[in-house]
């Protein structure tokens, strides 16, 4: 088989690394005998390969392999996307779980706040309702009822301490 100059120059690196089949290797060898330009290129490749073989092998920095093995890092682009999507799903799932827990806990928290609030205003709320009901009894003094309900109103609106809290 006869090779033209262009094709032979493309196979020089593979010929040097002994990667060609027998027929291609014989054809490149015959071309090198007839082509001084390809011979010179072949000699330059031999020198370069020799120089590369003399370079020291560099050790990777500490933590490099751990970083490479960790999800989503130092991956080929095609492999990173599923990892990234999986990671985002995990993050959303975590957020959803946290939100569900918060929503589930809200009645408990609100219930506790309501209970604390109710314990503060409960006496005034009930005294007000009692005073209101006393309005149906004959001879109950209206000015006194107004005073009592008025004081309780301020507690219910959060503008006064509970009635029994003072001086006791």
């Amino acid at each position: 088989m006869t090779l033209n100059h262009h094709r032979a120059s493309q196979l020089l690196s593979a010929y040097l690394d002994r990667e060609l089949g027998p027929a291609d290797a014989v054809a490149v060898q015959e071309h090198l005998l007839d082509c001084p330009e390809c011979r010179r290129a072949y000699e330059e490749l031999q020198v370069t390969k020799g120089l590369l073989g003399q370079l020291p092998v560099a050790e990777p920095p500490a933590g490099f392999w751990a970083a490479v093995r960790s999800p989503g890092l130092a991956r080929a682009p095609g492999a990173a996307w599923p990892r990234l999507i999986f990671g985002r799903r995990l993050a959303w799932a975590s957020a959803a779980v946290i939100m569900a827990l918060v929503l589930a806990a809200m009645p408990l928290v609100k219930g506790t706040i309501d209970r604390l609030h109710a314990s503060e205003i409960g006496v005034d709320l009930y005294v007000r309702q009692h005073a209101q009901a006393m309005g149906s009894e004959p001879f109950t003094d209206r000015a006194y009822l107004g005073l009592t309900t008025g004081d309780a109103d301020l507690v219910l609106a959060g503008d006064a301490p509970p009635a029994g809290a003072a001086g006791r």
Binding site: D114, A133, F139, L147, R168
Partner: protein, 440 residues
């Protein structure tokens, strides 16, 4: 402030009242020109017949100490009130305008208005039947109050409770002065007019509230308007309502209501003796905690909290998953005894005892209990129905004051006096079979 100190302060205040009112306590009182019952009826009818405006002085325990509060009080017949509080400083400027349907409370320092139900409910439909049944009414004579002749009437409860003295203007029926006395602590509330003038017609516009510019409105939660039985209230509220088994002599079920404040749902059972009221508020135990103030006490060995507000007293405890709050004017021991009866839970034993003693079907006892009646009240109703040969519901209506003596006497073809005599005998018989509130 403890009770003894309060009593001392109020006694001094009472002395000042007497001095300012121009009463000569040493002088013998003139006899009343009419029976005391007639004077009381005159006082009950007066707000429907006259207008007045005056300055009222109230002395009561407030914010932990005895305090004197001054207010300008305006009344327009039949059921409108305007109250302008003048002193002390923390209430100065407070305005309450009640048009008979709605009561507005305005606080100028906060520019805040509160809208709630009227306080004048009794002025149109007042009735003295229960009061006459449960109080001993005595006419003490005539005294002069702020230059006016006043009939002095003493109301003493047959059972434990606050007694009340009323100075009723002989000419108009207006109550010029009141004094309430607790058996254990003496005088707990005094009110009197230091000045009053009567008018034929105060302007109606004075009794219409106008919301000031920029004022915020706070809606006061009002209990359900229609009274309901504990059984019906329990269905609405979602918990079993406890009915007090025994109350002091004469207290009768006055009605029940449900109210909501935020997430707090409460049921209120009211019991009256015709002059004073006991309210029992019930809410799920988890929905409300005990207040941080008050005194720790024990009710039938269980922890409870007692809050003494001077005139009103409050007892708080928990029972069968419910937070219970009793509010009333009755003595502390009586309040504790009422709570102890609920804690002891002798429902079945009391039901059996009453049905046996007054010879009535146990199912009738259970039905009346579900309607809110106490065991003594059931005994009274059954005995009265047997004596008068009327059905039990009619006897209950009569005892609760929704059926008057005149109406029942007419339907039975009896004179009111004869009916009253039969009723007295029946109630004495019922009282002898009990059950009674034990001394705490």
């Amino acid at each position: 402030m403890n009770g003894a100190l309060l009593v001392r302060v109020l006694v001094v205040a009472g002395a000042v009242v007497l001095a300012t009112a121009g009463t000569n306590v040493a002088a013998p009182l003139m006899q009343l020109p009419v029976p005391p019952d007639r004077v009381l009826q005159l006082a009950l009818d007066a707000p429907r017949l006259i207008d007045y405006e005056g300055t009222k002085i109230i002395t009561v325990l407030r914010n932990g100490h005895a305090e004197t509060v001054t207010a300008a009080e305006f009344h327009k017949r039949p059921n409108m009130t305007r109250l302008e509080y003048l002193s002390p400083e923390d209430v100065s400027g407070r305005l309450i305008v009640d048009d008979g349907a709605t009561a507005w409370h305005y606080e100028p320092r906060l520019n805040l208005a509160f809208e709630g139900p009227s306080l004048n409910e009794s002025l149109l439909r007042g009735d003295l039947s229960l009061l006459h049944r449960n109080y001993h009414v005595t006419g003490l004579g005539i005294e002069e109050v702020i230059g006016r002749q006043a009939c002095v009437i003493l109301l003493e409860p047959n059972g434990p409770g606050v007694s009340r003295e009323l100075w009723i203007d002989q000419a108009t029926g207006t109550v010029l002065r009141t004094e309430e006395r607790d058996p254990s602590r003496g005088v707990v509330l005094t009110t009197y007019f230091s000045r009053i003038s009567f008018s034929l017609n105060l302007p109606a516009a004075y009794f219409k509230f106008r919301l000031p510019a920029g004022a915020r409105v706070f809606q006061i939660p009002s209990p359900s308007e229609e009274s309901a039985s504990p059984e019906a209230l329990g269905r609405q509220a979602g918990f079993t309502v406890l009915v007090p088994p025994i109350l002091p002599e004469g207290y009768t079920f006055n009605g029940g209501a449900m109210s909501r404040f935020g997430s707090l749902t409460s049921v209120d059972l009211g019991y009256t003796d015709g002059e004073n009221l006991l309210s029992l508020f019930e809410a799920p135990a988890g929905s409300i905690g005990a207040p941080a103030f008050g005194q720790d006490v024990r009710v039938a060995g269980r922890p409870a909290r007692f809050v003494d507000l001077g005139y009103f007293r409050v007892l708080i405890w928990e029972e069968r998953g419910l937070h219970l709050t009793a509010v009333g004017t009755m003595p502390t021991d009586t309040l504790m005894a009422i709570a102890a009866q609920l804690v002891s839970d002798q429902e079945q034993a009391l039901a059996h005892s009453v049905s046996t003693q007054v010879a009535v079907d146990p199912e009738m006892v259970s039905r009346l209990r579900r309607q809110g009646l106490t065991f003594p009240e059931i005994a009274r109703a059954v005995v009265l129905s047997q004596r008068l040969a009327v059905d039990v519901p009619t006897a209950v209506q009569f005892l609760q004051g929704t059926l008057s003596t005149a109406q029942l006497a007419q339907s039975l073809g009896m004179t009111p006096d004869a009916l009253q005599g039969t009723v007295r005998d029946a109630l004495n018989q019922a009282s002898s079979v009990g059950p009674h509130l034990p001394a705490h």
